[in-house]
Each structure stands twice: as structure tokens, then as C-alpha cells.
């Protein structure tokens, strides 16, 4: 007897291509609203990551360090090109610039306290320097943004490091954006703004139009700080080679390079998805340019955008950066679940909100400890890899300690493909 039951089976077509649910919902939104979409957090698309690089362990060719009993130095000096008081931090992980406004006061204080627990630096972000942040931070970086909201000479005087901000990875080439529902009375006073407006701030520095003016502007900032404080320029990854050359020529002590994976409180989805280039190739291009200019040892390089763990840190340093900046990662440590709704101001964890009820939910000291633990663990992870590679200093990691596991990473970084000495693309310090 034939037991097979004959049935008409309708094949199931699953749309993996262009017309997937996300595309359709995007079009539905635009068809209804007639405008582009704003969203928090940053890019959601796939971008190449440092996971495509592997660290080579020391075996017979070199000796590894004792993981548990021998030291690996993580102290980092930043901005020693011309500044007479360079920044010294205990671990090469800084807290990236996130504004009081995008974040709650409690979140900002927690982040500042975390820097005091770990000996590192926090950047204030747009919209002024919160006194409670300054009181609690170990070292304070102060951003000079095109908007200059809440900015004055007092901020410069308080700085251990200055960041002249040109752009951020999440929305390079765009002005700052803070949704009206986050501009409470307190934030408005702080930023010298009317309450509740959607803030679309300045796209360019009104006091430095172009590279030539910036040379003079740098001289002004040196005058103001008596040449003591390191001055960095924060640029979003785009035409990295040209921008790095200009920044060096302008006379900065260091560069903060923010890749396209960088986060933000609110940005047009178009910008997060399509503007700029990812962190890894941007870093490679920046290092290559600094080396070609012969200033690699004097100009500090900090990278940000998608840095999540100690492996990222170790690889970034091996490629040639001096430090990383973490933003989203630090928020996650405080409890953020990356729901991408920062722009609504309704963060139930009390992090990306100004709602007094939600803010009460964030335990400042608990959050500070978690961020500090995250920074310590990340440092320990990087040190673990560095020791396995035989380094007594984290900074001694070098490109020769890396290999690419994908053709894509190999072509993008100039680091040879695993199991070979082949590089598909521009070479990057490896002899053929």
C-alpha cells in the first residue's frame, strides 16, 4: 500500500532580497510621513569589523608573557606633540563625547565616576560641561563644537584635553540634532535655548571656515591654554587621507577618528546607513597617512565607532592607534539594551532621557561601577592577547602580530591573509 498522502504543497517564498519587511516598512513610513526618518543609536547594517583579524600568538619564534604573573603596561600618554601637559591615562579607553541632553544627568555623572575608578578621560559632548561631570571625572576632555551651546572660555580652562569637533561617524557632514522632547527647562538653560524646540545646530565652525583659518585658530587655542593642553581634532571617517593630512598640517596634537559605526542620540537613518566609511579601513588609512608624513610617533590617534571589547582594543592598537573611545558600549554597561529609541527621550533605563521618573531608575554608583568594570575587563582582555603575543606593553602590539581571516579584511587593511604572506591590495608595512 502506498502510504504517501498526496497533497498540493504551496512552496513558501521568503523574501531575502530587496523587498524584505524592513524595506516595505521604510516605504510605508515615507509614504505616510513624506519625510526622512530620524532614529537614535547609529547604523544597524553590517560593516566590516576587527573580528576579521586574528592576533598571532608567540610560540617558538618569540616568547609569551606569563598571563598571571608578569606585567603588561597599559598606561597611555596622549597629545605629546606640542602640548606641555600631555594627557596620561591608565588604560587606552576613553569615554566618547555624549552630551548632557542626549543623556540624563545621572548617566553623565555615572560615566564620569567610572573614569575616576579607572583613571581615564571622559569627553563632555555637545551642549556644555555639566559641573557634576567635571567634579567626578578623572580627566576631562572638552569638545569645541560648531554649535557652541553652553560653551565658553570657562570650559576651555577646565579641560585636560580639547577636541575640536569637525564631525561624528554616525552623521558626518550633518549638523547636531536634539529632538525637542529632550529639551527640558534645565537643558534649555544649560544650552541657552528656548524650551522644546527641535534643535538643528550649526554644521560648520563659525570661527574657522576652512583649513587655512584653522591654522590660525589652533594658534589661538594654544595661546588660550598657554600651550599646555593637548588639542585633538575629531573627524568622521570619510576622505581619511586628506583629512588627516590637513589636521596634521593645522598643528593638532592628536586625531579622534570616528568610523561609520559610531553612535548618536538622534540622526537621519540615511546618514547612519550611508555616510562615511567603517572604522577599520579608516584607521588603516589614517595610520598609513601619519607614517607617510613621518609624524606617526608624535600625533596621537584615538579611534571610535563599533569598539566593543578587548580584542577590538588590542587590534586597533596593533594597527597603530593609541587609544579607543567607547560610547554605546559604556551605555550598554549601564543597562542600555540598544533599542534604537534614544531619539524619543523615553529611555526606561534612565540613560537617554530627561524624564524625571525614568531618571530615578538609574542608580548612579551602581552604573559607574558597571562601566568601570567593563573598562577594566576590556583592558584585561586586550592585555591577555598582548601577553600571549609576547608584549610587555599593550602599545607594543604591532601589525606583524595580526593576520586577516577574510579576503575583504586583507584587501582593506593590507594585513596578510591567514596562512599566507599574501596581501590583496595596498600593502601596509609588510614586505612582499
Amino acid at each position: 500500500m502506498n502510504s504517501t498522502i498526496k497533497k498540493d504543497v504551496e512552496p513558501k517564498d521568503v523574501q531575502h532580497g530587496i523587498w524584505n519587511k524592513e524595506t516595505i516598512s521604510e516605504i510605508d513610513y515615507k509614504a505616510g510621513a513624506g519625510k526622512h526618518r530620524i532614529r537614535g543609536c547609529g547604523a544597524t547594517r553590517y560593516m566590516p569589523t576587527f573580528d576579521d583579524l586574528m592576533v598571532l600568538p608567540s610560540q617558538l619564534s618569540r616568547m609569551s608573557l606569563d598571563t598571571y604573573r608578569e606585567d603588561c603596561d597599559t598606561r597611555t600618554v596622549l597629545g605629546k606633540r606640542t602640548a606641555t601637559r600631555p594627557l596620561v591615562i591608565e588604560t587606552p579607553i576613553m569615554i566618547a563625547g555624549m552630551s548632557y541632553g542626549a543623556l540624563s544627568k545621572e548617566a553623565k555623572i555615572a560615566l564620569a565616576k567610572a573614569t575616576a575608578l579607572t583613571g581615564t578621560v571622559i569627553s563632555n559632548g555637545e551642549g556644555g560641561l555639566l559641573p557634576e561631570e567635571l567634579e567626578n571625572s578623572y580627566r576631562q576632555s572638552v569638545q569645541i563644537l560648531p554649535s557652541r551651546f553652553g560653551f565658553s572660555k570657562r570650559n576651555i580652562e577646565a579641560a585636560d584635553m580639547l577636541e575640536f569637533l569637525v564631525g561624528i561617524g554616525a552623521k558626518p557632514g550633518l549638523s547636531g540634532h536634539l529632538m525637542g522632547n529632550k529639551i527640558t527647562k534645565e537643558i534649555a538653560e544649560f544650552r541657552q535655548l528656548p524650551v522644546g524646540i527641535d534643535l538643528h545646530s550649526h554644521p560648520r565652525h563659525g570661527d574657522a571656515f576652512g583649513a587655512d583659518d584653522l591654522v590660525v585658530k589652533m594658534e589661538q587655542l594654544r595661546e588660550l591654554t598657554h600651550g599646555e593642553v593637548p588639542i585633538f581634532m575629531k573627524i568622521a571617517a570619510g576622505r581619511v587621507r586628506d583629512d588627516v593630512k590637513i589636521a596634521v598640517k593645522v598643528g593638532v596634537d592628536g586625531i579622534i577618528l570616528d568610523g561609520a559605526q559610531g553612535g548618536t542620540g538622534a540622526a537621519p537613518v540615511m546618514a547612519t546607513r550611508h555616510l562615511g566609511i567603517p572604522t577599520m579601513p579608516a584607521l588603516v588609512q589614517a595610520v598609513r597617512t601619519l607614517e607617510e608624513m613621518g609624524v606617526k610617533d608624535e600625533v596621537s590617534l584615538i579611534v571610535s565607532g563599533g569598539v566593543t571589547d578587548g580584542a577590538d582594543l588590542a587590534k586597533v592598537i596593533a594597527i597603530g592607534a593609541d587609544a579607543v573611545a567607547i560610547g554605546t558600549g559604556a551605555m550598554v554597561a549601564m543597562g542600555c539594551r540598544v533599542c534604537l529609541r534614544c531619539h524619543t527621550g523615553k529611555c526606561g533605563f534612565g540613560i537617554g532621557t530627561q524624564n524625571p521618573e525614568f531618571r530615578k531608575r538609574l542608580d548612579i554608583d551602581g552604573a559607574a561601577e558597571r562601566v568601570a568594570n567593563y573598562i577594566k575587563a576590556m583592558t584585561a582582555e586586550a592585555v591577555l592577547l598582548a601577553k600571549a603575543a609576547g608584549k610587555t606593553r599593550l602599545k607594543n602590539l604591532e601589525r606583524e602580530d595580526l593576520r586577516s581571516i577574510t579576503l575583504e579584511a586583507c584587501a582593506m587593511t593590507g594585513i596578510p591573509l591567514v596562512g599566507s604572506n599574501y596581501v590583496f591590495g595596498e600593502r601596509f608595512g609588510f614586505e612582499s
Binding site: 557652541r148 572660555k153 541657552q192 528656548p194 563659525g206 570661527d207 571656515f209 583659518d213 590660525v216 589661538q220
Partner: protein, 237 residues
Amino acid sequence: MEHINAADLSTSELNKKIIQGLKAGGEVSIQNPHSMHNIATGLSRPGTVTIQGSTGFYTGGFLEGSTVIIEGNAGWYVGDNMMDGELLIRKNTGCNAGTYLSGGTVVIYGSTGSRVGYGMKGGTIIVCGSVGAWAGQMTLGGKLIVLGKLGADIGESMYRGAIFVRDKDAEKKLGSNVFLDHIQAGEARELEELFKRYGIDAKSEAFQVIRPLPSGRHSYALFNPELKPELAQKMRS
């Protein structure tokens, strides 16, 4: 009065000498400025610095409390980020004068270029001559007073503050998000006092005021792209 010859000095050396001069006597005169940049940066000592000639970029940037007089022309960004004090320019200036001003008074006795008072947050800027385009763009506070002709798009995207103008064509030159209003009695009195103090021959009644729209919400071209299908009709033979 201390006299400083700036001819062979670097910016840093000159600024140090200015501070020493103010400490010694409260009045300093600078000869041969040769359009040097960054003169009197962040000067916060009481006293008067008179520059006998023209200056380059950023003169009196971050100035805080001193009086600086430029007896010639000033380059771009004069008085940028100024906090307090007085900055008097006897002739003309380049663009972006008084950018991000947060306090004090800038008086330009001649004309100025574009974007005077860009992003200013407080203080007063008086321009006796004409101004270029985008004067007072993105102003967050303070007073900008223009006696001469206006350029295009004045007060574009102001959030707060007031721009006092007496150009009869002001209505045609407004930026977006602003409107032209009558001057109030208190404002008129302030203007009269300022004119008297700085020796400016003008009457407050001739002035109108440009203010930000009270809605508090700004409209931008990006959010409402103006597509004009009627202008793209098929060519008719």
C-alpha cells in the same frame, strides 16, 4: 602708557607684553601690528589696549574685560567667542565678526562682511556701516545693531536675541524663521545710551527689530522639499 613695537614679535611674545604692560600702567599702545593674527587673545586684565594699525584674524578672541581699540581694519573673526569687555574697530572688518559672542560690546565704525554675530549668545554688536549676508545667523541671544545697508538673509534661523536695523528694505532681506517688529521703549532707551557712549550719530526711533518667530519651532527646506510640478510641464510646440 606702555608702547610696544610689534614688528619683531611673535604672537605669543606680543600677548605676553600686552599683559605686562597692562599690569604696569593699565594702558598699552601697539605700533606696527602688521595685520598679525590672534592679538589680545583671551585678555582678561582691566585696561585699554590701542592697536595703531590693522590686525589679522581673531583679534580679541575670547576677550574678557579689557578694552581693545583697533585704529585700522580688522580681519576675519574679530572678537570671536568674546566674553566681556569692549572691542572698538575704527574702520572695516572681514567676515564673521563677533562670532559666538557671549558678552561685552563690539563696535565696528565701518562696514563688515558676512555672518556678523554668527551664533552669538549675548553681548552687543554695533555696526555703523553696512553688513554682508546672513548677519546674526543662528543667534541665541544678545543685540546686533546695524546702521547701514543689510545683506541677504539677515537673522536666518535665530533662536533668541534681537537685531536692530534701519535699512528701509529690511523686509525684503529677512532670513527664514524671523519677523520684523516695532522697537519697544526699553530697547530704544538702551540704543540711545549705547549711541551716546560710543559717539554714534543715530536716533533709536529710526530702528525696527528683527526677532525670531515666537512659535519656537523652525521649518526647514529639508523637511518640506518644495517640488513644483507646474514648472516642469511638457514643452508645448
